[in-house]
């Protein structure tokens, strides 16, 4: 749904990345014979980084790629600004084929349209915070006065006002990553690439930075690809999530879809420990109103608490605590469904049969 309703800013078409000297032969063999990762490793001494990844990201969307270390997510994100050349497949940014660009066009794209944040910050230790932040403007030859102005705006945006003349090693880890974020947004790019930006930080600082990022994101509406190995983070931040395993995108969907309809056991394992309270909606656990009526007959819905289909389980719990009645779900004034206490509890547990289980 999200894909068709919005214009795709980033589109990746069948990206393959095979590392190794014989990557071309390995690629041909894969296309003809469909070799597995292990066969490629043994026969060609090559490592498969990314295996046939296709996805697109709409304007203003935050697209999370979630996977464990070694799953190829950092390799995949580097294809978007062509820091890594794909073995096969291509990347389009606003309809332009990145892989067909000349070196000059590519540099212009990187400097103006794409901001990137790195897990290890990758700040330049010999430059002040300000000179780090406006590096992409400096390489484009933009004059000093403009750079100072842009730097001030970006540094203020990440709450580092007054630190612009300091050097990176005078800042704490969290502050350094704020500088990284400021550097990424300084040129006012269309796209943000975030490569595990908060993974190296301790939990409290990580949460703070997530909040800063989400506020900035809501304000700036950047199309974002966000890489993380932390599903909680992906759910908190992402509009859609892609789960990656061994170089393959296993499932792409909204957080609710991922949690409630995992595509396979691997994803199911991942989402098992995730709290459903803020993810699952009433629509997913309710029983159709007519069906409830048919089975339970009487009962006067006038006194029942009322919820909307898009309300989360957390809100339903609040409603259920104050009453013994089931919860009535109303959409556009019509009674569409009923959430019984039992269905609610099963929903919190994450059992798929929550709506079907009837008293």
């Amino acid at each position: 749904m999200t894909e068709t309703s919005r214009e795709a800013v980033i589109r990746c078409d069948g990206i393959w990345k095979i590392f190794g000297e014989k990557s071309r032969q390995a690629m041909d063999a894969v296309l003809k014979q469909g070799l597995s990762k292990e066969e490629i490793r043994d026969r060609f001494d090559c490592v498969v980084g990314v295996r046939d990844a296709s996805f697109s990201v709409g304007r203003g969307e935050i697209f999370c790629i979630m996977g464990l270390s070694g799953s190829g997510k950092s390799t995949l994100i580097r294809h978007i600004n062509r820091l890594i050349e794909p073995t096969a497949g291509s990347v389009f940014i606003e309809g332009q084929n990145v892989n067909a660009m000349s070196a000059k066009e590519l540099r212009a794209l990187r400097a103006q349209k794409i901001g990137m944040v790195f897990q290890n910050m990758a700040l330049m230790p010999h430059r002040t915070v300000r000179d780090n932040v406006v590096f992409s403007l400096e390489v484009r030859g933009i004059d000093e006065a403009e750079r100072v102005r842009v730097a001030k705006r970006a540094i203020d945006a990440v709450d580092l006002t007054g630190w612009d003349q300091k050097y990176p090693d005078e800042l704490s880890g969290g502050m350094q990553q704020r500088v990284g974020l400021a550097r990424a947004i300084a040129a006012d790019p269309t796209i943000l690439l975030m490569d595990e930006p908060f993974s190296a930080l301790d939990p409290l600082i990580r949460r703070q930075l997530q909040t800063t990022f989400m506020e900035l994101s809501a304000e700036l509406h950047k199309t974002t690809v966000f890489i993380t190995h932390d599903l909680d983070e992906a759910i908190r931040i992402g509009d859609r999530i892609a789960i990656m395993k061994d170089g393959v995108l296993v499932q792409i969907g909204t957080p609710e879809e991922i949690v409630t309809e995992p595509a396979d056991d691997y994803v199911a394992d991942f989402v098992a420990g995730i709290s459903k309270l803020d993810l699952v909606t009433a629509a997913r656990v309710m029983q159709p109103f007519a069906q409830y009526r048919q089975m339970n007959g009487d009962g006067d819905p006038a006194h029942w608490p009322v919820a909307r289909p898009e309300d989360k389980l957390n809100a339903l719990v609040d409603l259920a605590i104050g009453t013994d009645h089931p919860i009535l779900v109303k959409a556009d004034g019509a009674n569409v469904g009923v959430v019984t206490k039992k269905a609610l509890l099963r929903g919190i547990q994450g059992r798929e049969d929550a709506a079907m289980e009837v008293a």
Binding site: R107, R110, I114, A122, S136, Y167
Partner: protein
């Protein structure tokens, strides 16, 4: 050759003579034959060295001393400046002629080091960028560093003649390798993720080189420069064998006359000069963090002057 001896399988080396030395002696003939072509280049460099020496000799010793102390203060801080001042005073009082001889030696060292930087820095950068070039240049550098100086002394003299230019060339052969090696090491040691970030923000290869790699490699490159200076100084005695004047020549002459006292004077002069140059260049090599992130114009005598001017204005 081997006719009169029977060939011994257990000791083949003594019964076979490939006449390597006879053939390579041809290099001498080649050097003599090409003398004329090299003379204009020699003239240019000779002029350069003479001008540097003349400039150093023209400055009165006390003013030169103050200048060197100021440079040391600027480059390495107050403590090193005091040490340098003490060293230079000691050098001056070693012998009435010591100061002038030291300036001659300094001129040769400065010329050699300038040429080492001009040759060594690009080679080092290339070696840092290309594994193949590094592999190719490594045995050359090993040879330059380990081959005894006397081996190339003769061909160099045959080709160029005795004098300062030959001295500088002999010095460069010995002193160049550490600068190339450490420049390469410095470039290779730059954090690859910082270089990747520079690429991700649209820097050109040249911008990556000059805005990221060289600044980050600077401390290592300066350590190489320091080593190059030290090795140049250690060559002054050998260079004096091909008629290079200065402190080295004093040592050589004293050796010929078995004059231990004069040899000590010349030797101590070289040591003091080495300490002075070493401390100054080491000070240059300290990282920004060690200097408390102050710019060079915010410290030392220049900082003092700038501060005074600002205070007035």
């Amino acid at each position: 050759m081997a006719e009169d001896k029977t060939f011994n399988w257990l000791d083949p080396f003594s019964s076979v003579d490939l006449d390597v030395d006879g053939r390579t002696d041809g290099i001498k003939q080649w050097a003599i034959a090409n003398r004329e072509a090299i003379q204009p280049i020699k003239g240019f460099f000779d002029g350069l060295i003479i001008r540097i020496e003349a400039a150093l000799q023209a400055v009165p010793p006390v003013i030169m001393l103050v200048l060197l102390v100021l440079i040391a203060w600027q480059a390495a801080g107050r403590r090193v400046a005091i040490l340098v001042a003490a060293c230079l005073v000691a050098l001056g009082f070693l012998d009435p002629a010591a100061w002038s001889l030291a300036m001659t030696t300094l001129a040769i060292v400065i010329s050699s080091v300038i040429l080492c930087v001009i040759i060594g820095l690009p080679l080092g950068i290339l070696a840092g960028k290309s594994d193949r070039f590094e592999a190719a240049i490594r045995p050359v550098l090993d040879t330059m560093q380990t081959i005894p100086a006397f081996v190339y002394l003769v061909p160099v003299v045959m080709l160029i003649g005795i004098g300062n230019v030959s001295g500088v060339i002999v010095t460069i052969i010995f002193a160049l390798p550490p600068l190339v090696r450490l420049t390469s090491l410095g470039i290779r040691g730059v954090n690859p993720s910082v270089v990747e970030a520079a690429r991700a923000f649209g820097a050109t290869p040249n911008q990556i080189m000059f805005k990221v790699e060289l600044p980050l490699a600077t401390p290592t490159i300066l350590a190489g420069l320091n080593q190059t200076i030290m090795l140049s100084l250690s060559m002054v005695v050998i260079a004096s064998m091909i008629s290079v004047k200065g402190l080295g020549n004093e040592v050589l002459r004293a050796m010929g006359r078995l004059d231990a006292g004069k040899a000590i004077v010349g030797g101590l002069g070289i040591v003091i000069l080495a300490i002075v140059l070493d401390r100054i260049t080491q000070g240059l090599g300290r990282s920004g963090r060690a200097r408390g992130h102050r710019h060079w114009w915010q410290a030392g005598p220049v900082g003092l002057v700038v501060g005074l001017v600002k205070g007035r204005g």
